[in-house]
Subunit: 287 residues, 2 copies
């Protein structure tokens, strides 16, 4: 295992949610452009993250939040409960869905996609295809692949690029219900990068002591008192019973900035349980 | 429409996520036991909620949060963005999943269930059926129905009761990864009930003014200052762009209690947008 780990570190393998044609691949190709490394597709977000934790690959790129559907829970929960990794980059990416089918398909009976993509096109689907059956699969690219392989009366929701890869025709582009549809992806690694300078963010997750009304407020004040701007607060189940939560905080700035470092340490001192995902640079690629 | 609405009001139709054999049905049968009314199954959570909004049915029972998987986003988002309904009861229910198949099935190739049920049995599935394909459908009962209808090599995750209804055999009971697996269901109606007395909760959703660090803290202080105990804070996308959120608050007590009413009104005055789901009684049915 140690040898395998050394080898992958030398090779720089970058995992992503495959197969070919996913938004994750599109983002990975763009963000690592010009850098040395080889891409490894995984068939689930969880498997890609565990690949980094186990040393199979040196880093991975996974979605963490969509502007319409909210958190990608599997990413949040795996990061919180199952691995010990750092966030090393954040990429914000416009998601533009197309309805893709084999040329010649007349009657669309089944529409296949990732559950978040189906949810993001809910209004379009109920307006245009009220009677079609909706089927969830592990990725938009898998949906496109299945339709290309010949699901009778099947159509897929995926990127225009995936349609081109698998030789499908796009019937409608930009079918997402809301034009503000973008997804935040994060790159994960075993070691934090903690860069300084502009355009950095820092993330942590914690379990707050006690359940009295003011507990969360106390934590928020540690940030507010030092002028640390929180960009996101998200609760997830602590998995210890209904009504018990852990909180994720994203903030502007880096652990290299004194006010962020002091606030993070003050929060840590007040928590029952705490995990720092480190600081990372933010890239915006909105079209 | 007005006439149809009158008729349903007289009939008291209660919608739930069907078909026969869902956890929603199990909860509905239990919680409305002894009350006058007729049950109407819907094929999606969204359709059941819209049924109340449109006057087709007088109330509906839908899941809103699971202790392991967190919020049921479709319920939260429909309540916030698409309808104007009140919560009239809350029921906390133990979720106990079984692996169900047709007797004689030897090689399980496909495991079918609702995505939350698949997620809740993730560890069991990767331990016992690492090579099985996982398929998502709209409800656990639909999965059980599909396996009973003869999906080759298929097994379903659902309630033991659903297995009995559709004549499947249970291979393993209590296969959920975590024993603390329970779901909160809410009953929704067009009119709030706002009961007084013990064991009540009040819920609201709002968009907080401004995005400075202390905004959420200000809101939390309105509750804390009046001793109102928040049982849950949940952010969801505001759907206006990444980084913009609405916040759901659940609190102990009723709008009939002065301290709750004053705190809720103070919060309302500080918000850009605000919706009160009213106060309701809480029933615990944990086994």
């Amino acid at each position: 295992m140690a040898i395998a780990c050394e080898q992958t570190a030398i090779e720089r393998l970058i995992g992503y949610l495959g197969p070919q044609g996913t938004y994750s691949e599109e983002v990975a190709l763009n963000i690592y452009r010009g850098e040395f490394g080889r891409f490894v597709p995984y068939n689930s977000i969880c498997a890609a993250i565990q690949g980094v934790e186990g040393g199979e690959i040196s880093e991975c790129l996974v979605p963490i939040e969509n502007s319409l559907e909210g958190s990608v829970n599997i990413t949040m929960d795996t990061l919180a409960h199952e691995v010990d990794l750092a966030i090393t980059r954040e990429i914000v990416w416009s998601i533009r869905h197309s309805l893709l089918l084999k040329s010649g398909t007349k009657d669309v009976k089944t529409i296949i996609s990732h559950p978040q993509a189906l949810a993001q096109c809910r209004q379009y689907l109920s307006r245009q295809y009220p009677n079609a059956e909706l089927k969830s699969v592990a990725s938009t690219a898998e949906a496109v692949y299945l339709v290309a392989s010949g699901v009778k009366g099947g159509a897929a929701i995926g990127s225009r690029r995936a349609g081109e890869i698998y030789s499908l025709t796009s019937v409608d582009d930009d079918i997402q219900d809301n034009p503000n549809n973008c997804t935040r992806f994060v790159a994960l690694s075993r070691t934090p990068v903690n860069p300084g300078g502009q355009n950095c963010k820092t993330s942590l997750v914690c379990k707050i002591q006690g359940d009295r009304p003011g507990s969360l407020c106390d934590i928020l004040q540690e940030f507010a008192a030092r002028g640390v701007n929180l960009t996101r607060i998200e609760s997830r189940p602590a998995r210890a019973g209904l009504g018990m939560y852990i909180f994720f905080f994203d903030m502007e700035g880096s652990m290299e900035d004194d006010h962020v470092k002091t606030a993070v340490n003050a929060v840590k001192a007040k928590c029952q349980w705490f995990k720092n995902f480190g600081s990372y640079s933010v890239y915006n690629r909105l079209s």
